[in-house]
């Protein structure tokens, strides 16, 4: 591990501006997910180009970059959500705690129970709040009886910071909550399955600043137990919640480094341009 890190650090020019080679440090000290040379094609469109990235255990890593740069596509590779897109083709290797998750033999259903995802727009099912949270435990058979299920639902809502607000109305439809509450319900629904990694695809872009602040607080707490990969358009958000930042541009991973390094001293011209607001 150390020799690879050294090699990655040595070969970098001072202010490179070309795309194709990742600047910074793609390695993590304690990697949980390891992606090697990942390419994604939508038909003829080469959406992700040769991306390698390690995601650490119980680390929050933010994927940033201009619209259409492939950060969401890369995120969706991590729990095989691209499978449902007929024209999508993924090459390369991604391992989750040592398991190859790109292999044909791996059941994406089992993978998605380990790698949960929260989407940009809150998408509670048209069911009661209770049933929304209980959905995952039920399909995966995580609770042996009603009492255990109640326990999972309450714990998950509590951890998502929603329990106090909804404890009296668990039977009401989840779609009746406010946008921020819906998003926290979706987070509760995700952690009810007890995943190892949580992917968040711009989880706050449909929310107001107060709801956003609550979700960000929640991320701090969740980071104690889960690895979190968050796609965000807000650099302030990336700076607040993440330990590492990965900057994507036109399908390539341009630069990865610790958050404070990226925001104070970006090494790639494109990264600098993006975080200073010259492209975006």
């Amino acid at each position: 591990m150390p020799d690879r890190m050294a090699k990655a650090n040595v070969t970098l020019p001072e202010q490179p501006s070309e795309i194709g080679k990742t600047v910074g440090n793609i390695r993590s000290a304690n990697p949980y997910i390891v992606a090697e040379n990942v390419n994604v094609y939508y038909g003829d469109n080469h959406a992700i180009r040769n991306v390698s990235l390690e995601i650490g255990t119980k680390e929050v890593i933010a994927l940033i970059g201009p619209s259409g740069c492939g950060k969401s596509t890369f995120l969706r590779c991590l729990n095989r959500m691209n499978d449902s897109i007929e024209s999508a083709r993924v090459t390369g290797h991604i391992t989750l705690a040592g398991t190859d998750i790109c292999s044909k033999e791996l059941d994406p259903v089992a993978l998605r129970a380990r790698v949960g995802i929260v989407f940009q727009k809150p998408n509670p099912f048209p069911k009661s709040i209770y049933d929304n949270v209980a959905y995952g435990p039920r399909i995966h058979g995580l609770a042996a009886n009603r009492a255990e299920l109640d326990n999972i639902v309450h714990t998950s809502l509590e951890r998502a910071g929603l329990l106090k607000e909804v404890i009296d109305r668990l039977d009401e439809p989840g779609t009746g909550l406010s946008g921020g509450q819906q998003q926290r319900l979706c987070i509760a629904r995700t952690i009810a399955v007890d995943p190892e990694v949580i992917l968040m695809d711009e989880p706050c872009s449909a929310l107001d600043p107060i709801a956003t602040a609550r979700i960000e607080d929640l991320m701090y707490e969740l980071a104690e137990d889960y690895s979190i990969v968050i796609v965000t358009h807000s650099m302030q958000q990336a700076a607040r919640v993440s330990q590492r930042v990965a900057y994507f541009h036109l399908g390539s991973l341009v630069e990865v480094d610790e958050t404070n390094k990226i925001f104070t001293n970006p090494r790639h011209r494109l990264t600098e341009d993006y975080i200073t607001g010259r492209i975006g």
Binding site: N79, M81, S84, E86, V109, A110, L111, R112, A113, G116, I117, F119, K121, N123, P124, F125, P126, K127, Y135, G136, I139, H140, C186, R189, T190, V193
Partner: protein, 462 residues
């Protein structure tokens, strides 16, 4: 001059009017820079002129055609000898028919006496004069309208607004045709049905268990009083509709689920048009398929199993009707499933659901109101379906729930009551209108209910 030629001339005139109006508007403002000088684009001045040329003339034309024969006949009657004028309405009608037939060179009843041939000649003369006047009046109106409009053209004339107003009126008129037709149908059926209920009490019609709709030809005829209890018909309709829905709903729903969720794009591209072909087969073809292929097969199979099966069984008719409705159910269910936002699907898949769990636990419950609405529409289609049951269900008004027996439906009875030579004021024929009214009411309620459910569901996501 023929009517066609006249219409052709009118069309040409209005085209000329268009170009003249357009040219005048352009001439009024000189120079290549049009902006700001004319209120509307030059074309609108053209349309303005053309509309004023065409519309009043067409109005005159249609009024003329609708009133012409009445006026001519009134004139003709006035010229007849007093003896003929005193005839009863029916006989006078016969006489006038004879005159017209003679004038057109058709066969007439009786001998063509001098009075008759004189009247015929007069009739021809009137018609001829009327046509000539029509041409003159119409063209005059067209010319006058066109010239007046043309003279009114002025750079400040709001031609666009006026043209758009007229187009709006045309659109409203077109859309009210369907509504007015519906109202007309309802009223005509309603009044005939009321006449029926004067002869047969409404309680007997609605709750009577016996249907044998004959009326006496002679007063002393055996079995002269018919029975008009419509319950067996409604029971038969219900039985066949139930069988049809038992076939169509599961098959249609499963087709929709497969197409919306599991099939690849190429399969979908092939299967959907094929289903639409199924929807395009005329129902009369389904009818003889039911009567000649399915019904004998049902009977043979039933006999092989030791069951008593009528050769025209409710099962055969209901089964084929169900097949006919499959495309309707599947396409409405497909729409409902596709209307569920893909965020739901992603959310469920992201939690580690299998495709089938996603379908059963998230998408179908979310789409259920839309699917139910679609099924209600399909039921109303099945209740109103006629051709298949006429050919395959039979005429015996049995009050039974046994699908192997022959039953009859409301629509079949309406057809049989009105086919052939009938008096139109007997209880027998009027019963058809009462049945039609019932049928209309039921399907209308189902349609309203179905559409409301579908709409309510749509509001949920948009």
């Amino acid at each position: 001059m023929q009517g066609n030629t006249l219409i052709l001339i009118l069309a040409t005139t209005s085209v000329v009017a268009f170009f003249m109006g357009r040219a005048r508007s352009l001439k009024l403002v000189s120079g290549p820079q049009l902006r700001g000088k004319l209120h509307s684009l030059p074309g609108y001045y053209g349309y303005f002129t053309a509309i004023w040329c065409l519309l009043p003339a067409l109005l005159v034309l249609s009024l003329w055609f609708s009133l012409e024969s009445r006026v001519i006949i009134a004139l003709l009657v006035k010229q007849l000898p007093a003896a003929q004028q005193a005839l009863s309405a029916g006989e006078l009608n016969l006489l006038l028919n004879n005159i017209q037939n003679l004038a057109n060179g058709d066969a007439i009843s009786g001998v063509a006496d001098s009075m008759l041939s004189e009247s015929a000649a007069r009739y021809l003369a009137y018609t001829d004069a009327s046509r000539r006047m029509l041409v003159i009046v119409t063209l005059a109106v067209a010319g006058l309208g066109g010239v007046l409009a043309w003279r009114r053209i002025h750079p400040a004339l709001r031609a666009r607004n006026k043209v758009e107003q007229i187009v709006l009126v045309l659109l409203v008129a077109a859309s009210s045709i369907a509504i007015l037709t519906t109202i007309g149908i309802v009223l005509s059926v309603l009044f005939e049905a009321l006449r029926f209920f004067q002869k047969v009490p409404i309680s007997e019609f609605l709750f009577g268990l016996n249907w044998s709709p004959q009326t006496a030809i002679r007063a002393d005829q055996v079995g002269s009083s018919g029975n008009f209890g419509a319950l067996p018909l409604f029971a038969g309709t219900l039985l066949i509709t139930t069988i049809a829905m038992l076939v169509a709903v599961p098959v249609g729903l499963m087709t929709a689920i497969y197409l919306a969720e599991y099939s690849s794009r190429s399969v979908r591209a092939t299967v959907k048009p094929l289903l639409e072909i199924l929807a395009g087969i005329p129902t009369v073809v389904y009818g003889f398929f039911a009567a000649l292929t399915v019904a004998p097969w049902v009977r043979r199979t039933g006999e092989a199993l030791g069951l008593e099966v009528a050769s025209e069984s409710a099962l055969a008719a209901g089964f084929v009707m169900g097949v006919m409705i499959i495309p309707l159910v599947s396409s409405l269910a497909d729409d409902a499933i596709n209307a569920v936002p893909s965020a739901m699907r992603d959310g469920a898949l992201g939690l580690g659901s299998t495709r089938s769990e996603t379908m059963r636990k998230v998408i179908l419950p979310a789409a259920l109101p839309g699917i139910v609405g679609g099924i209600l529409l399909a039921v109303s289609r099945a209740i109103g379906e006629t051709m298949i049951v006429v050919m395959a269900a039979g005429l015996a008004a049995n009050l039974t729930a046994n699908p192997f027996e022959a039953v009859t439906t409301v629509t079949v009875q309406i057809v049989t009551l009105l086919v052939g030579d009938q008096e139109f004021d007997s209880a027998k024929t009027l019963a058809a209108f009462a049945l039609g009214l019932m049928l209309f009411t039921v399907t209308l309620c189902l349609n309203v209910l179905g559409l409301r459910v579908v709409r309510k569901y749509r509001e949920q996501y948009e």
